[in-house]
Symmetry: C2
Subunit: 491 residues, 2 copies
């Protein structure tokens, strides 16, 4: 893309450029109101050569915008806290809310290029990363985001000239980084690497735009043109339903809920003995997992009163409290609702070596949101693939990903509901909503069967926990976690 791109200077008379900028600037400001009205989030990534004018361009773009509804983020090399999470985590953290602009000054292109040039990534890992970027771009687009990716191009001669000028004054000298100088010295290597990333992430969904940055005014005009056009288009496109993708993830063959036996028995004595042994083993494994920096993500879903809470407690009480977090997931808060639905789970991902346990999870999308109409049909139908992609990213990052459906039959639920209503200390656990959900048992069962069938992958398998007998269920879950950890540690 860079190779076929010719940098030219000043094809248009400066006055004409100035007048056009003013016109486009006005249009852009009016669009800010429009994106608020349409609740469009706009994510603008500005990449390019050192001294190509990324900061200046962003400064000019926002000049007339209402500062309450945009943010500018200067991405620097990842900090330790960021390096301990998936590559895209820190970018996902920064995605705009509905109706808001976020401008990133450098981003995943620059970070990946540096990783390549310093031999921190290559081969399969590089392919995985490029794929993750493509997936993020598409997922954001499908979830109503406008993502605009700009690359500011200047010739080596121009870059040298600009850097030289910056270095001449002590007020600007500090702005010249080592990386800038490397780019001049190793221009060809950089070009090859940039080229590679640009091409690999130049998709129909979210294409790259190479901007001739030889002249700053013309570059601004070009960027304004692109942005205003794309915002118009995005508002129009909001009516078009994104395609529902069915990617070929190797799915595990899973039983339907109705085929799952629920007649296992375990008495309190046996339970206590086995629990003690398993918790000891888990404790030791947690220590090793921590030291090997393996992240663990466990999602609990299940029927109301199936015993998720008690099950989680038996698992977590064997863990070192400094190394895990349990997240109860309720309906999203406003700032969560205003972002990609996976954002709030991304946000809660553990550091490597840590364990995150979700009490309800991102699967809400294909259960309660589907059945209660909190999202559109296209949304939840798309979600199977989006979730598989999300979990693949976790697994590529190195995480152990486990998902539990805590299962009981309808009679057992009724008995437990009644028990809760009778027992004063348990009454808070039962609400009218539980009874209402119970009436929709069949619809839920169908949704759960579909969910389990379509999202049980080798890297992130579902396990149906047989919880008519809670003792049995707890032993079953803890055993699965132990097996998964041991298997990973053996690899």
């Amino acid at each position: 893309m860079l190779k076929n791109f010719e940098v030219r200077k000043g094809q248009m008379p400066p006055e004409e450029v100035k007048a056009l900028i003013k016109e486009k600037q006005g249009e852009f400001v009016r669009q800010q109101q429009r994106i608020k009205e349409h609740q469009l989030p706009v994510f603008v990534l500005v990449e390019g050569w050192g001294a190509a004018g990324k900061g200046t361009l962003i400064g000019n773009l926002i000049q007339e915008l209402d500062p309450r509804f945009f943010r500018v983020v200067n991405m620097v090399a990842p900090k330790e806290e960021e390096r301990r999470r998936p590559f895209l985590w820190r970018y996902m953290e920064k995605i705009p809310q509905a109706g808001e602009f976020v401008f990133l000054n450098s981003g995943w292109l620059d970070e990946t290029a540096e990783d390549m040039l310093h031999h921190r990534i290559d081969g399969v890992d590089l392919e995985m990363r490029l794929q993750q970027i493509r997936v993020m771009d598409r997922q954001l687009k499908d979830n109503g985001y406008l993502v605009v990716k700009l690359f500011l191009q200047i010739t080596p001669k121009e870059q040298k000239k600009r850097l030289k000028k910056l270095m001449e004054s002590k007020d600007t000298k500090w702005r010249v980084t080592d990386k800038d100088l490397q780019q001049v010295k190793r221009r060809e290597k950089y070009e090859t690497v940039y080229e590679r990333i640009l091409e690999a992430t130049n998709t129909g969904d979210v294409p790259w735009h190479i901007i001739d940055a030889a002249d700053k005014k013309q570059a601004l005009l070009h960027a304004l043109h692109l942005l205003t056009n794309q915002i118009d288009q995005a508002v129009e496109n909001a009516k078009i339903q994104p395609e529902i993708l069915h990617k070929d993830y190797p799915l595990l063959s899973m039983p339907r809920l109705s085929q799952t036996p629920l007649d296992q028995e375990m008495d309190r004595e046996e339970y206590k003995v086995r629990l003690k042994t398993l918790q000891k083993r888990l404790k030791r494994l947690h220590n090793r997992i921590y030291r090997k920096r393996i992240p663990v993500v466990i999602a609990y879903e299940g029927w109301d009163a199936a015993g998720k809470g008690g099950n989680i407690k038996r698992l977590s009480s064997a863990l070192d409290p400094r190394g895990f977090e349990v997240y109860p997931i309720a309906s999203p808060e406003p700032h969560e609702k205003a972002r990609h639905y996976l954002w709030r789970f991304y946000h809660r991902l553990p550091k490597d070596g840590h364990i995150a346990i979700f009490d309800r999870s991102w699967y809400g999308r294909v259960m309660v949101e589907r059945l209660e109409g909190f999202c559109s049909e296209n949304d939840w139908k798309r979600a199977y693939n989006e979730i598989n992609e999300f979990e693949k990213e976790l697994s590529d990052w190195g995480a152990i990903v486990l998902k539990f459906w805590v299962h009981i039959d309808k009679d057992t639920q009724l008995a437990r509901f009644q028990e809760r209503e009778k027992t004063p200390e348990k009454q808070w656990k039962i609400t009218q909503e539980d009874w209402r959900n119970r009436e929709k048992w069949d619809a839920y069962e169908m949704a759960v069967d579909e969910m389990i069938a379509r999202t049980s992958t080798e890297n992130a398998p579902w396990h149906i926990i047989q919880s008519n007998n809670k003792y049995y269920a707890r032993i079953q879950a803890i055993q699965i976690v132990i097996d998964a950890m041991e298997q990973r540690l053996e690899e």
Copy 2:
């Protein structure tokens, strides 16, 4: 406190200890339900000597708790992102939500001790820090928190023995830190420093509890005793209204709103010329502020339609977009409401060298929350002092703190409301709520007068921006920011 504390081992027969632990453990678990019911947030700080068993104690305390409603945080040395914020910022980030436990493994005592021992803090700075800790403790308590501070005490002999044992096995050796060894070598120095901090922060509001950690079971029993008692007490105390403090902050003498002239004129021509000059100066100053790592916090308050948005825009458009953020503040979201009301502002504090501009602010407490009854009378009356303390902390940290009341008269507001209703692009800016607020003008004016009179300090002054003429107001605000920056840079 440590000097008079005698460490004794095993005064009680082990079986008796075990039985009592079991009893207290049960009580503690039942209390977890109680703190949820009463929406009590419980913040437990566990400090003490290396190898005294802090981690083990926390592990035992949480053993039976529901993991969805507690968090354990292991505090390590502050990261760069944390060091660039006020000392207490990272602790405030971690305070529990209503109905939740947070256990801190080490905290502000340990961090301060290390800073003292490594000569990073002393004299006035140390006094300031100890005062900040006392203020945080009290503010949390007054805002409905239970803060429990434990210090685990062991003798030097016992510590040496435990460290030696840990170092004997390669599985535990890594847990012995350099700091632990330093504590053994420089025991007396450590004792002096701990003593100093313990005494300075041992207040009636939030006292320290020294726990004899010679025997782990007895230490656990002691901690359980303390916690269960304090939770009971805190639930009881919730009915007692905290004292309303009036500290002697040197207040600036401020005019009432009704005495503020609003007849200044400025025409568009003059405005444009002056704005251009001032924005240039501000731009240069921002660069210097950034390089000197001075944080800037600006709060905008004002009448509806006074022109806050436009004023902020003229200020921010002169700033380097990578160095500031504008935060529009609406009513708090659930996770914000569930914490100390200053938490969401703490959370948004800038890094040093950065500028945070708040469009509406923590002053909502003494305006809208007061007048609409969103908080109790005791709450808003206490808030003047709490806010002065908060702003003093910012100023002690080194921040420039400025507060603008963007002022217009009632007729001007009416004219602007009507204008908004007539102009299609502006209609979104006017709602029924604006009209309702307008009806309460006199009540608001009284509250604003009181607020300005009681919170205009030298370190964080209020400025009444005369905004009947918006041009004049914008020039006035930007000039104040410039003056404050220049003054600081000259110091």
